[in-house]
């Protein structure tokens, strides 16, 4: 069930250039059903900024009722969010959407988790859960530049991890797709910029691929029709899916991206 709750900030820190890791505590954590779900955060009590900000849950702990989000400080809303500190209460709506289906790979199989930039965070909980059920995980994480890299160690703890940077300032220079070519796996889970998702969808049409999409949102719960995408089997018609409530994770080929 979706809840709206004033959650208490446990900690917040800048873990890479403009990348913040925010941990909060709240009853709504108990409602999380899958890695890859997200929350909708109100960053101000007033009306500037007006809209909530959608941010993925990057990990959670139901015993502690705590969850962690990782976000990039970019515009007005995330800049305000970055200023809040431990003990403060923030208004969170969630958990929202449907996450990554962990049951699509079985113990002993290999899952490839591919993240680009701020698409990396939701893969972390996914990685943890896959490892827990005995799936072998390989991570390919793409960043712009050295200063933007985060969570490399955390992913390494779960399995093989390849990092790329666009400018070559750290690890391998290039795109995640360059690395992927040489890897063996049964299933892909990916989240990141749309061009990356498109490239992966096209190159691996023979594989099971799950993509997490982004779209500008109004309500975040399926009521406003801001975040729709066309069903892939009806490209000129009226069939659609909502990223917020039907996604954000879709099976490759399910919707037009």
């Amino acid at each position: 069930m979706i809840r709206k709750e004033l959650c208490k900030i446990i900690s917040q820190q800048e873990i890479a250039a403009d990348i913040y890791e925010l941990t909060v505590q709240g009853e709504l954590v108990d409602q999380i059903s899958a890695p890859g779900q997200f929350v909708h955060i109100r960053v101000s009590n007033g009306w500037d900024p007006l809209l909530r900000r959608p941010i993925s849950i990057s990990s959670f702990d139901k015993k502690q009722l705590s969850m962690t989000m990782i976000y990039r400080k970019e515009g007005k809303g995330t800049s305000i969010l970055a200023e809040s500190g431990p003990g403060e209460l923030i208004d969170i709506l969630g958990p929202l959407g449907n996450g990554f289906p962990v049951n699509e790979v079985s113990s002993g199989e290999t899952a490839l988790l591919v993240g680009g930039g701020i698409g990396v965070p939701p893969l972390y909980e996914l990685s943890n859960q896959l490892v827990a059920k005995g799936v072998k995980v390989i991570h390919v994480l793409g960043f712009q530049t050295e200063a933007a890299v985060f969570y490399e160690k955390e992913f390494l703890n779960n399995g093989e991890t390849y990092v790329t940077t666009v400018d070559g300032s750290y690890a391998r220079q290039g795109f995640v797709t360059d690395v992927m070519k040489d890897l063996q796996f049964d299933c892909i889970y990916t989240c990141g910029p749309t061009p990356m998702l498109k490239a992966i969808e096209q190159s691996y049409s023979n594989k099971k691929v799950f993509l997490s999409l982004e779209e500008r949102m109004g309500c975040g719960i399926g009521a406003c029709f801001a975040c729709v995408c066309k069903s892939a089997d009806d490209p000129t018609g009226v069939s659609y899916k909502k990223v917020c409530s039907d996604g954000p994770v879709f099976r490759a080929g399910e919707v037009l991206i």
């Binding site: 007006l50 809209l51 975040g220 029709f225």
Partner: protein
């Protein structure tokens, strides 16, 4: 005794608070947060004859204290609204106001004719003011004679009272209001969104794929208040007011201006509980301000003391 019950053409409302069209879908999502029967009414999403996908995304953009939307009247079409959405809503004890849209006069008329027969539809809201649809809409919403004509045609076929939703994007809102009153409208709803635009700093392109969109939220409230103030003095049909409402105090301000009920749109996205919260807080605020009933507030900004509000007459 309730301080909030209101009688309007076709509508017996337990309170004058309803979600605005397009901001509440057909109620399913919000029904997970609270019992929809607490609402005064529900204005459902615009319904067109055929299903529509609407505009490409991005469809929303934030502005200071407001947002732009260019959904483009996405909806499942009349059949599905009649066959699925309205029956689903009938489990709740709440009157439905059906928002009717189209490109051609015939479309409006056909949707109105059929949707007005649905048992839980107690009124129509004629959407002549959607700024996000290329064909039709704009003339209906900006040329008095065209609006009057459409209103008359829809009135001829509708089995329930017809409220006409006015666009604020006009030089003379009073003229539009009088025209649709002359066309037989039973009430007005106002305002729809102001046409606006945001551009992306990095690309220079409009943020919305549709380029322009409709501005809603607290930013537009003073424009809505002014228009309702002007129109309520010029017509003798009731007004359901909307535009940036987010608190019980806002509701009272709309009533003072001349509204007899209000709708809450954008604020639902910020706080899904905003409608029940306002409904809960209104009686205390009325008490504090010394009103026995909310209908005493209607038109207070321009009425002489002692003069009667519309719905007391």
């Amino acid at each position: 005794m309730s301080r909030l019950n209101i009688e309007l053409p076709g509508l017996t409302l337990r309170n004058p608070i309803m979600p605005a069209s397009g901001c509440f879908g057909f109620g399913r999502e919000y029904s997970k947060f609270y019992d929809l029967s607490v609402l005064g009414a529900i204005m459902i999403k615009a319904t067109t004859l055929e299903p529509r996908f609407g505009n490409p995304t991005p469809r929303v953009a934030e502005t200071t204290a407001g947002m732009l939307n260019a959904i483009g009247l996405q909806n499942p079409g009349l059949e599905k609204v009649l066959g699925e959405e309205l029956p689903w809503l009938s489990q709740y004890d709440v009157p439905i106001i059906a928002n009717v849209a189209g490109s051609l006069e015939e479309d409006y008329v056909e949707v109105a004719r059929r949707i007005s027969k649905a048992p839980n539809v107690h009124a129509l809201e004629l959407n002549i003011s959607c700024p996000n649809v290329k064909t039709g809409g704009i003339a209906f919403g900006t040329i008095p004679e065209v609006a009057k004509q459409l209103t008359r045609k829809v009135k001829e076929v509708s089995e329930v009272p017809v409220y006409v939703k006015l666009s604020p994007n006009v030089t003379n809102i009073v003229e539009m209001a009088k025209a649709v009153e002359a066309g037989g409208a039973d009430g007005l709803t106002m305002i729809n969104t102001l046409v606006g635009m945001r551009l992306d700093l990095k690309t220079g392109n409009p943020i919305l794929a549709n380029r322009t969109g409709g501005l809603s939220g607290p930013a537009i409230k003073p424009v809505a208040i002014r228009m309702i103030y002007e129109v309520s003095q010029a017509v003798s049909i009731p007004i359901i007011g909307m535009g940036g409402i987010e608190s019980a105090a806002d509701v009272i301000e709309y009533f003072y201006a001349g509204a007899s009920a209000v709708a809450v749109g954008t604020a639902n996205f910020v706080d899904p509980f905003v409608c029940p919260t306002i409904i809960k807080e209104l009686p205390d605020l009325l008490e504090k301000l010394g009103f026995e009933h909310i209908n005493e507030c209607t038109g207070r900004s321009w009425k002489k003391d002692g003069q009667l509000a519309y719905h007391r007459a």
